[in-house]
């Protein structure tokens, strides 16, 4: 299999680590070779976080080369922009529209820019952009803490992933606490359907 590269970008506490681990587990379930890179440490919450998932027979390095992401899964608009160096014309950007203003903005009394401005920047790298209101879908699923799983569902919904939808669902089931499984699976489906619908329209 040719390589498939995913970059997940968000803010500490949003669950990017869980999402990337789920993708890695799904790949192993499907007997694929995979590398997942994580950065732990400094600040448990609130800092910029980026993880990468690379699937493919010849993959050795865990990190993604500039311009070589197949998907950039942005958990937050600013963090999506911060990782556009991994994107190029071939990249699909899936972006959560839920904003988390960095403290620097409040301190300088600067407004968070509008989504249209953010999307304009994304368009300088790729035309392929899908916007998701993961916060709203997560609430609908039953907990605003499931935005990461909504986004995973959305990623699966694109039909681009080299892993089976069912394997990814199984991975989520294994990774989230038992009492939250149902809510998370609902979140996954809501994300999945939202993108499938979107693709049909386009």
């Amino acid at each position: 299999m040719k390589e498939f590269n995913i970059v997940l970008a968000g803010v500490g506490g949003q669950g990017t680590l869980l999402a990337s681990e789920a993708l890695g587990m799904a790949a192993v379930k499907d007997a694929l070779n995979v590398r997942v890179s994580e950065i732990h440490g400094m600040a448990q919450r609130g800092g910029a976080v980026v993880t990468t998932v690379r699937i493919g027979d010849n993959v050795l390095a865990p990190t993604v080369l500039e311009g070589q992401a197949d998907v950039l899964l942005g958990f937050e608009p600013f963090e999506t922009v911060r990782n556009l160096k991994y994107a190029s014309g071939k990249t699909l950007v899936i972006m959560n529209t839920e904003k988390i203003p960095p403290t620097e903005l409040a301190a300088k009394n600067v407004k968070y820019p509008g989504l249209d401005q953010i999307v304009q920047k994304v368009h300088l790298f790729t035309e392929k952009v899908v916007l998701i209101d993961a916060a709203q879908l997560a609430k609908k699923a039953g907990s605003s803490l499931t935005q990461n799983v909504v986004l995973l569902g959305a990623l699966a919904g694109t039909g681009m992933l080299p892993v089976k939808k069912q394997s990814l669902i199984e991975a989520v089931r294994e990774l989230v606490p038992t009492k939250h499984v149902e809510i998370n699976l609902k979140a996954f489906e809501l994300g999945y359907e939202s993108v499938k619908e979107g693709h049909k329209k386009a």
């Binding site: 803010v11 500490g12 869980l18 681990e21 890695g24 587990m25 790949a27 192993v28 007997a31 070779n33 995979v34 590398r35 997942v36 890179s37 994580e38 950065i39 732990h40 440490g41 400094m42 600040a43 448990q44 919450r45 609130g46 800092g47 910029a48 010849n58 050795l60 390095a61 865990p62 990190t63 080369l65 500039e66 311009g67 070589q68 600013f78 963090e79 922009v81 911060r82 556009l84 160096k85 190029s88 203003p101 960095p102 403290t103 620097e104 903005l105 409040a106 301190a107 300088k108 009394n109 600067v110 920047k121 300088l124 790298f125 605003s144 294994e174 990774l175």
Partner: protein
């Protein structure tokens, strides 16, 4: 996180996704290691944490030691009774243990003993990016370097076997990109750990007085020569690919980049992968140099391989052309490598065109990110350190100086808290504060966490009492080794075996050291804490103020478990958007929307600090318990 019990499964041949550090933990179980010691430190922490989770069930002994030196002492003691042992630490931890390491190489061990050192190129969560392969060279001990999780597991087992064969400790050196990479790992058979050792009195072997050390030095060099023979035939040192155009020698995470970069450049490259990097397989390297016109050394950080390979070349293949980072810097000596950096270096050496327009991407990226606000790591909403820093700043102001230390509280150096002026290594705040206080005559408040206090500050504190230094030691006690993942420590009353323990209290230690003014405060009781700290600053000698409140992340988890509802702070009509809360605290839960101050209900933990700092009493909610 998945259930770590998965590490205990007796299912040989099963393929499971594991973090490099978890793979080392699995290696512990497959190697039958019976004693594991550690002091937590990124990027090594999950090795000890995984073992702590499963130790009672696996039948092995695990401890969070007070520091890396003690961790190595405990494990070396056990290993000298014939028990298999492993100690895990971050790279700088080995500096702490270095005194022991250098002479432990002389005494050697009877049971296999592996020291895992996890290096951190790029300083993702460290104060420096030292290259610990030099410790292998320095101590004459063998060193293995895995490049992925599968190898990390295999090498843990091989290192134990090699250690027993040579009767020497063996270093297992990872980097962040090995320790914190997940990949498929195929299980092998579990081996039952044997915790029953026997101590054999043998002064010539174990008591390193000069008369016994001298002959042991000779023994060490003899064993190192044997290790070199092992290196020549090791499965970890091998030509993985033959090629005519160029030869590449690489190891560790750099190897992954080297292979991918050579492929992207379509190079017909021969590749020698080194997994045992001390001692180096001299004959194998000579053969490789002879069979390639040009040889490129791809390695992260220091030119550790390059120096030695060039020395080998000088003796055996003087006309060899060796490229790396020494005479001409084809690869950087600082920061972590990447496939890109390796491609750029290889392209220069081979005069190939880069297949990706990196410069174009850089320019476009620089353009769109020039106004992008940074999002550095910050203290969590509800973090008790924020309250402590608010109080400390209020008392010390701009006049006092604030030597600080390693932990979450290092983040206090940023505005608006601005507490933290010098930070070097574990425990250094208390010592440097004494020199600064003497040299400047200014009020000096040393900031240190609870785990770091136990780790390295006690001799410094005794020094302050003995030499009557004027300083305040502010111990920010959040009841955990928080930044590395909330591991327990001597003050928590819990052990690595998950059993109860005697709580060692910071204030008792301080009193025992002879400090006259010792107080314990709750940082959220800002008025009382301020008064106590003011009094501490007025003392003519050393004083200690313990700011005690649990890490908010643990607190929230505990409250959720007990079903206690958090009462979040609320902005009332009295707010005139003066921004004092934002300017004083920079709490991530306080945001500004359309010029109005708002409390984010997802982030607010209900700590109540903003309630006590608001000059207009315009914030309501729960106050500190």
């Amino acid at each position: 996180m998945p259930d770590l019990k998965v590490l205990l499964k007796d299912t040989p041949e099963k393929r499971i996704l594991l973090l490099g550090n978890e793979a080392i933990a699995r290696g512990v179980l497959e190697a039958g290691i019976a004693v594991v010691t550690t002091y937590p430190g990124t990027p090594a922490s999950e090795i000890g944490d995984s073992i702590s989770e499963i130790a009672p069930e696996a039948g092995l002994y695990m401890e969070y030691s007070v520091n890396e030196m003690v961790a190595v002492e405990v494990a070396a003691g056990a290993a000298n009774c014939g028990v298999r042992a492993l100690t895990a630490m971050k790279h700088v931890g080995l500096n702490v243990a270095a005194d022991l390491l250098m002479t432990l190489a002389y005494t050697g061990v009877r049971g296999g003993y592996v020291i895992v050192t996890a290096d951190d190129p790029e300083c993702y969560s460290s104060q420096n990016e030292q290259d610990n392969r030099f410790y292998a060279l320095f101590s004459n001990l063998p060193c293995l370097e895995p490049s992925d999780p599968q190898e990390a597991k295999e090498m843990t087992i091989s290192a134990i076997e090699m250690s027993e064969k040579l009767e020497l400790p063996v270093l297992l050196r990872t980097t962040t990109r090995v320790s914190h990479t997940r990949g498929p790992v195929t299980y092998g058979n579990l081996k039952k750990p044997n915790l029953h050792g026997e101590f054999i009195r043998d002064l010539k072997r174990l008591n390193m007085v000069p008369a016994f050390s001298r002959p042991k030095h000779t023994v060490l060099l003899r064993q190192a020569a044997k290790a070199k023979e092992i290196s020549e035939t090791s499965v970890y040192n091998r030509v993985v690919r033959k090629g005519k155009e160029i030869g590449i020698i690489s190891s560790s995470s750099a190897y992954n980049y080297a292979v991918e970069a050579a492929d992207l450049l379509n190079l017909d490259a021969g590749i020698l992968k080194l997994g045992m990097t001390h001692p180096l397989p001299e004959k194998m390297i000579v053969d490789f140099l002879r069979s390639h016109d040009k040889v490129v050394i791809v390695e992260e950080l220091e030119p550790y391989l390059e120096m030695q390979i060039k020395a080998i070349a000088k003796d055996y293949v003087p006309n060899a052309q060796v490229f790396g980072k020494m005479s001409t810097e084809y690869f950087p000596r600082e920061g972590e490598l990447s496939t890109r950096l390796v491609m750029v270096g290889l392209a220069k050496i081979t005069a190939k065109e880069l297949p990706i327009d990196f410069r174009g991407i850089d320019e476009k990226y620089a353009e769109i990110t020039k106004d992008l606000p940074s999002r550095p790591p910050i203290l969590c909403a509800g973090c008790p350190h924020r309250a402590s820093f608010y109080v400390i700043r209020k008392v010390g102001g701009d006049k006092a100086l604030y030597p600080t230390d390693i932990g979450c509280y290092a983040l206090g150096m940023s505005p608006p808290l601005n507490v933290g002026d010098i930070m070097i290594c574990m425990g250094a705040s208390v010592g440097t504060a004494q020199g600064i206080s003497k040299a400047t005559g200014r009020d000096t408040i040393a900031i240190i966490g609870d785990s770091t206090f136990f780790h390295a500050a006690i001799p410094g504190l005794i020094n302050a009492v003995y030499n009557n230094s004027k300083l305040v030691v502010a111990v920010l006690d959040n009841q955990a080794t928080a930044m590395t993942g909330h591991q327990p420590h001597p003050g928590t009353g819990i052990t690595g075996m998950q059993g109860p323990a005697e709580k060692v209290l910071v204030e008792k230690v301080a009193e025992g050291c002879g400090v006259k003014y010792v107080r314990v405060v709750n940082p959220f009781e800002t008025r009382e804490a301020t008064a106590m700290l003011k009094e501490a600053v007025r003392q003519s000698g050393p004083s200690v103020v313990v700011f005690r409140s649990p890490c908010t992340l643990m607190d929230i988890k505990e409250k959720r478990r007990r079903g206690v509802k958090t009462i979040q702070a609320k902005i009332t009509d009295k707010c005139n958007d003066c921004m004092a809360c934002i300017k004083l605290l920079a709490c991530p839960a306080i945001v500004v929307e359309e010029g109005k101050v708002k409390i984010d209900e997802v982030f607010c933990s209900g700590c109540g600090l903003c309630i006590s700092v608001c000059p207009y009493k315009a914030i309501e909610g729960s106050c500190a318990e």
